[in-house]
């Protein structure tokens, strides 16, 4: 399945948001996810299923004023 993660197309073999986040970062605190422009709360990550073509943003803390 192909999804667009942080602007780049990726072939993924995971089906949940939780699985995708685990591939990108080991951190949990300070991480937030949006799929197709909608916030997916952390509590929903295990149940939230990815679909082919989804646009996923996986975000975390960065320096900023």
């Amino acid at each position: 399945m192909k999804v667009i993660v942080n602007g780049a197309t990726r072939d993924v073999d995971v089906v949940s948001v939780e699985g995708l986040v685990e591939q990108l970062t080991t951190a949990r605190r300070g991480v937030a996810v949006a799929v197709n422009g909608e916030v997916v709360p952390r509590s929903s990550w295990p149940a939230a299923q990815l679909r082919d073509g989804d646009r996923v943003e996986v975000l975390t803390a960065a320096q900023g004023g």
Partner: protein, 246 residues
């Protein structure tokens, strides 16, 4: 809300995490801003360092140009950092980075209804500040001058008018270039200042952070002490009484 130091430190612009950490410690701050960016670009280490120092996090919505984007960014930040605090930024254009008042007010209203403690980065317009307070913002954060400009407080009279026209804390945000600017903000009655570039981009960030800490404290003391009124002619400090005749 912003701690005893009355100094919120913005973490943007630091050359390294080590330099940022030294500045945070020297500033005495308890509350620092962070942005949300893509994990592949953000780099690790910032949050663990802030946690280690016991900092509270004030997430910002930097880079948002519409109310809808800022509301989304705030919700993502709340999920990431488990805080209701948000520094609400809705920028009007890239050149000035000044806030878009219409979008800002709209976003503030939505986020207050969603249960956030909204700290909006606003212009030095007293009427807009009042409108933001009226919709339930937890504080207002007027710009002294454009972000990163270091120009100081362009219109001190408006900052004072804002102080007089809202019942929520006023935090001078943006424009501070050096310690005297921070002191002036506090002398005008601001409850706190938010400083980023002036510290993180100084030649010696930790030393400037210490200077800001003292400036904020001095300005606050001076405000509380009640300064003498300005006058156009001299007023002798030595009494004429008992003056000898030669």
């Amino acid at each position: 809300m912003f701690g005893e130091s009355r100094l919120i430190l913005g973490t943007g612009g630091a050359e390294s995490l080590a330099a940022l950490e030294a500045a945070i410690v020297a500033s005495g701050t308890e509350l620092v801003t962070v942005a949300l960016r893509r994990v592949d670009a953000a780099g690790p280490g910032l949050l663990p360092m802030l946690d280690r120092l016991g900092m509270r996090i004030l997430p910002n919505t930097a880079g948002c140009y519409t109310a809808a984007d800022a509301v989304k960014a705030a919700h993502l930040a709340r999920d990431a950092f488990e805080t209701d605090l948000v520094k609400l930024e809705v920028i009007g254009d890239e050149r000035t980075l000044l806030p878009d008042g219409v979008e800002l007010l709209r976003a503030a209203e939505t986020l207050v209804a969603d249960g956030f403690q909204v700290l909006p980065y606003t212009s030095d317009d007293p009427i807009l500040a009042r409108r933001l307070a009226d919709v339930g913002c937890a504080a207002v954060m007027p710009a002294g001058a454009p972000i990163g400009s270091g120009l100081g407080i362009s219109n001190p009279h408006h900052i004072r008018l804002i102080r007089d026209s809202v019942d929520v804390p006023v935090v001078l945000d943006a424009g501070i270039g050096t310690a005297s600017d921070a002191a002036l903000a506090m002398e005008l009655g601001c409850d706190a200042v938010l400083i980023a570039s002036a510290v993180t981009r100084a030649v010696d960030p930790a030393r400037m952070a210490a200077a800001m800490r003292h400036a904020v404290e001095a300005g606050r003391l001076a405000f509380g002490a009640g300064r003498i009124p300005k006058r156009y002619h001299a007023l002798a400090s030595t009494s004429d009484e008992g003056r000898p005749a030669w």
